[in-house]
Amino acid sequence: MTGKVEEPLAPSAFGHLRRTLTSAPVLIALTILGIAILIALLAPFLGTGDPIAIHPGERLKRVSGAHWLGTDAFGRDVYSRVMYGARISLLVGLGAALASVTLGLFIGVIAGYFRMLDSIVMRVMDGIMAIPGILLAIALVTVSGASLMTVVVAITIPEIPRVVRLVRSVILTIRDEPYVEAAIALGTPSPALLLRHMVPNTVAPLMVQGTFVFASAMLTEAAMSFLGVGLPPEFPSWGNIMAEGRIYFQLLPGLILYAGLFLALTVLSVNVVGDAMRDALDPRMARKL
């Protein structure tokens, strides 16, 4: 008796992924994102001057050949500041995303796999989630002083519970799958069980959630800096630029709006890519995220 291998029974998941990732809006978003990353990396080479150099004689100038986006209240070149601002904002976003995903995975696996710790871990997560994210971040920065590091940590912590919930729910679902039970019956020890069979299933949802954290972190940092409780003013983050432009808004709205535009476009692109990834990888995830 020989079994013949038949054609694949279900359309390949990769075909669907490819199709979603090459649709027009996604390509545009990826391009914008690519540009943002390039700006961040190549800021010094983009015709920028020193973002913190003060030119008292050039205060509050409009768009001109010398200053492509005008100058701010200290005579600093807005264009340079916005370009360098990309570095900060993207860095904060990336840092928060990576940290929350890593910690969330670790804690989520513990909660999902070790039944006895589940209750306690989830109550703590619920507690953290009960405090509105930005308030928690603000409080953390307040008690530990404002620096790039503390801001990233402060933004990361409120994002962790949602990642934990996601990972935990994946683990709980997978734990009941017959192939995991088969592995247990075959004598597979717990660490191998986790790494071989369970954790790989978390990769896709984590990637999706990571992009959303990236976007959310950038927005949170901007909001905090805008309120004056985020990054110290020496960092030309987009949020700080906008904070400084507040008073002069009626005079020179561009001080706020240029940085705002860049931020909005970047966050938008990240969200679009995240959505596309989620739709491509597993339509069922849409409910959980």
Binding site: P25, I134, F249
Partner: protein, 304 residues
């Protein structure tokens, strides 16, 4: 019933954060010229000489009695400050929630109803946009358009209801619009997804097999079953909303609790910060409890 440990955790977290503040609270109160005995006295008075867990329980009891301490700056009781500044925040929040829900749900239903069409794609696009543009950028754009260019609406400021409905209302329009976009985006999108999911269920097929018209199928069978995730997101979104209110009050200069948070943080007024965080967290928890209660009304399978 799991709320109690959650509340406990929140209290613990807040307490921990505030006790982690660098610097000696006694020194802050006493000032630079205090002697060591005076500092000791103040410490005893504040209960700082007792072990940590005792401090925590004393503090907890204090909170439960409604005593949130006094402001380090003004000496005014925190609970009093909260009551004073509650008005604008309450007005803004209520307006936003009502407006968002009324706009978002029909939007989501229509998008699901006309899935794949231009209408659906526009709603989806708007959702992603609404969620991505920062609240304050939104706010300033609106101000630029409606206040500065068109002059239709005042730029900033707040008038309480007692001053008359119209001035009160007019000043709430722009802040509401600024923050609602994010909330609407969230709700509309979940509404759409939830309805689409429900439309694939078996009992929808049964309804069609009975000879029902499509809109009857949607409204009578799908909607109520789709409600649970929608109600959930409204509850979960409250945390987001609170954060947004803090920023919006800053942009539009509304003298509410959100602005108070910022002021307190800049002034390092710890009791006020602590009180506000506790308040907002409890409101969040309360609203989510309400959501749980609403579940039991919507879905007869859920009974606690």
């Amino acid at each position: 019933m799991t709320t109690v440990p959650v509340v406990g955790t929140v209290a613990l977290v807040v307490f921990a954060i505030l006790r982690l503040t660098p610097g000696d609270p006694a020194a802050i109160i006493a000032g630079d010229s205090a002697t060591t005995e005076q500092l000791e006295q103040i410490r005893v008075h504040l209960g700082l000489d007792k072990p940590m867990h005792v401090q925590f329980f004393l503090w907890l009891l204090q909170i439960l009695r409604g005593d949130l301490g006094v402001s380090l700056i003004s000496g005014v009781p925190v609970s009093g400050m909260i009551l004073d500044r509650m008005g604008p925040t309450l007005a803004l929040s209520t307006t936003i929630i009502l407006f968002s829900v009324i706009v978002a749900i029909p939007l989501g239903v229509i998008a699901a109803w006309r899935q794949g069409t231009v209408l659906d794609r526009s709603v989806t696009a708007f959702s992603v946009l609404g969620f991505s543009v920062p609240v304050f950028v939104n706010g300033y754009l609106l101000i630029l358009l409606f206040s500065i260019s068109l002059g239709w609406l005042p730029v900033q400021g707040y008038k309480p209801l007692t001053d008359g409905f119209l001035p009160f209302f007019v000043r709430l329009i722009l802040p509401t619009l600024a923050l609602s976009t994010a909330y609407i985006a969230l709700i509309a999108r979940i509404t759409r997804t939830s309805i689409l999911e429900v439309m694939g269920e078996d009992y929808i097929r049964t309804a069609r097999a009975k000879g029902l018209k499509e809109n009857a199928v949607l409204l009578r069978h799908a909607l109520r079953n789709a409600a649970v995730p929608i109600v959930t997101i409204i509850g979960v979104g409250i945390a987001h909303l609170i954060g947004g209110v803090v920023v919006t009050e800053s942009v539009f200069n509304l003298p509410g609790l959100g602005r108070l948070v910022v002021e307190a943080v800049l002034a390092r007024d710890y009791p006020v910060i602590q009180g506000l965080i506790l308040l907002f967290s409890f409101v969040n928890i309360l609203i989510n409890l309400l959501v749980d209660v609403i579940y039991t009304v919507i879905d007869p399978r859920i009974r606690y």
